[in-house]
Amino acid sequence: MTASVETVTVKVLLFASYADWIGRDTVEVSLPASATVADLVRQLRDEFPQADRLPTRPLSAINAVHATADSPLREGDEVALLPPLAGG
């Protein structure tokens, strides 16, 4: 597929409770070029009714580095939505 300059396509990784809720652990999403992580979450809510349980500003990472809900997305980014961390 080809992405025009006006959109970015990202791969969304879901874990633990979020993966349970949405019923899958990866989703590909196309967004306007200026989209942020928060925009991505909004779009997931539109596409997946079960995603309304996601926080509007969940913990997130872009390409395996902690990000914020306001972080901008770029073509090909791997965006992880992280449920509350519980290591240790």
Partner: protein, 158 residues
């Protein structure tokens, strides 16, 4: 084996301690986190740990490097992934230093940062057969986790 910081096998404390021992280091402080048999008044039978492995490895490596930069220490860290029974070790940290003060401080730093930053999750299985994902933030003070607390301390990609 998901190396080097995550493993599916029981943690090997002796190897961990041996890996940081050296003749110029007079003390080793260690922390071992075990699976507890209760949580919020419910009897816990076992835990199931999962991770975003590439990021968890990278965060662990960063935390170890930070500790070894802030203090004159050598750090060994291992976190188990998979299903753990009550009493089994989920995380083990060994910190060797010339003197005990630095070892204790750095060991505390490593476990606190691990809990704050490393993308690992656990599902608790209860005596009645039900299960739930653990949310430490809610368990402790009832508040939702704050994405900014981690995100602002991290680095934007690219």
């Amino acid at each position: 084996m998901i190396s080097p910081y995550l493993t599916e096998h029981p943690l090997d404390f002796a190897s961990l301690l041996a890996s940081v021992s050296a003749s110029d280091r007079g003390g080793i402080a260690s922390f071992v986190g075990l699976v507890r048999d209760h949580h919020d008044g419910r009897e816990v039978k076992r835990l199931e740990y999962s991770a975003y492995a590439p990021m968890a490895e990278a965060e662990c490596a960063a935390i170890v490097t930070e500790a070894e930069t802030k203090w004159p220490v050598q750090v060994a860290l291992s976190h188990r992934i998979g299903t753990l029974e009550v009493g089994e070790a989920a995380v083990a940290i060994a910190v060797a230093a010339p003197h005990r003060g630095e070892a204790f401080e750095a060991c505390r730093y490593v476990i606190e940062e691990l809990k704050r930053r490393v993308p690992i999750w656990k599902r608790e299985w209860y005596a009645d057969g039900s299960s739930d994902w653990v949310n430490p933030a809610i368990a402790h003070d009832g508040s939702a986790p704050d994405e900014v607390a981690i995100g602002s301390a991290g680095v934007r990609h690219g």
